[in-house]
Amino acid sequence: MRISTGTIRLVIPAASLALLLAAVFYMQPRAMSYTGLNLLFNLAVPIALATVAQMLVMAVNDLDLSMGAFVSFCACVTATFLQASPAVGVLIFLGAIAAYAVIGVVIHVRELPSIVVTLGMSFVWSGLAVLMLPSPGGEAPGWARWLMTSRPPFVPMAIVASVIIALVTHFAIMRSSVGVLIRGVGGNVRSVERAGWSVIRIRAGTYALAGFFAVLSGIALVGLTTSADANIALRYTLLSIAGVILGGGEFIGGKVSPIGAVIGALTLTLAGSFLSFMRISSDWQIGAQGAILIVVLALRLLLNRLEKREKSR
């Protein structure tokens, strides 16, 4: 039986997650329970959503450096407007998603590098977040809190949510015709254009979809933390990019894996816990986190090479 490239792409991230999980269970047997798994993974849910959003942008061969600032902004909206007057909150979110679509259009029409545009936008989002919540505070809407702390039978919420996110995005990106177009724009714009599709619409749609997932990420985050501040999710920019790459995606566009991205987000979260259980001093933790990334990427490079050799034979 031939194993497809997509499956091989998934093997490494899944294996690294399993390995890390085994190591954490060995060091901290307490984690091997319903509550333990929930505590290990519940903060990974917003990261997974942000990673999926980043993956969409990367699928069309762009990079979103405003992800962390935008999720922080969404968290602030959730903790203020969405809680106090839901209608206004929803309107703001719709406006934000529309803004994302416009960013996609601007990047496409003016042929600007996405890194520059999104870096600029990150200051806009941060500024709006500070305007809304000058000092930390706000309150999570009851339903968001309920959703994130609910306790489904047998499997903790964090796992259920991750599986749902992975499956939904898998079918949307890998199995639907829209998904093919999105990946097509990242892989080969010309062929999509010649086939008669409007690339500008596809790009705008992809950005809007990314904005939508980032909004969900902000809501999920506030559901966990109960309140927000303007800097709450700044880490998410780099975490989401690392998550996509760790999960088998690539910078060159078109090559992404939604299930892998969710696994990548879980792996990154778990790596943090692993290092903390190992009692590694904070001075070394960023380095150690980087080392884990490099090891996983090196493994993938090796596998890619094997794959190529297989093909050329």
């Binding site: 903060l43 505070g137 933390t225 501040d229 709450i232 998410y236 816990s273 903390s276």
Partner: protein, 338 residues
Amino acid sequence: MIIRKMLFASVAIACIAGPVSALADTSGKKIALSNNYAGNSWRQAMLTSWDKITKEAVSKKIVAAADPFTTAENQATEQAAQIQNMILQGYDAIVINAASPTALNGAVKEACNAGITVVSFDGIVTEPCAWRIAVDFKAMGESQVEYLAKKLPKGGNLLEIRGLAGVSVDDEIHAGIQAGVRKNPQFKIVGAVNGDWAQDVAQRAVAGILPSLPEITAVVTQGGDGYGAAQAFAAANRPTPTIVMGNREDELVWWKQQKDKNGYETMSVSIAPGVSTLAFWVAQQILDGKQVKKDLVVPFLRIDQGNLETNLAGTQKGGVANVEYSLEDAQKVISAAK
């Protein structure tokens, strides 16, 4: 045979009961420190104090463990994950210096639900189930004006150096200084600049405003800015006013030089990084079953003309004057809050 068994039993009981009755009930408890940042002299001193006091407590078997953890990136989400890991590691109490007063509330709530005692200090959290050890920054600002009122009964013009704009600590100290001036109307604030708690910024800011100011009798500060202000006055060839210091080593050294040269008099006030050890003892007392109010106030560390030398001798180069708290200090703070 029976006698032998009885002997065994009594030895066993002696072994178990002996140490337990001699020690506090917290000898089996584990306490963790969750710290969000370690990148300045104050935080380094805070961690060193924690290490020193808790190692002693562990070796005396007052607690089983007191492990410090610092997050790498000073981010709330990272610290929330760290606290959740501590819950899994089975700590009985978590002492927190928080990256955000509100963004950790979810994780703190999880810890409380797991039966863990949470004590926050310096960077406190608002979650009601946690204890808070806060500094009365307003009183700290007011005490500066009160000192000046005693030293300079005639009053005069004040220059105020503020901290980092938009940070709550800056607002509170400022409010305290204003309240002090209202009570002592012989003083008048004629100018205010932002020194950002850094000597170089303060020096630039003071140098910039000085030409437009009348004679200044005293400078009220927030800490980390007194030395820079003194340099700015010297560079402008103006008489050195009474500058309230903020316990930094460079400030104390300058004060000592002036004191030896011409009998310069002032005072110095700030919070001691050793407040982490106070939080440790409070956590230990709560684990011990003591009734402790949720909101405690930590005294600030004040240095006067008389005890300058002793404090300077105990301050590391480039560091901050420090004091480590003992169990008795913690009990005093706890009973004062009742």
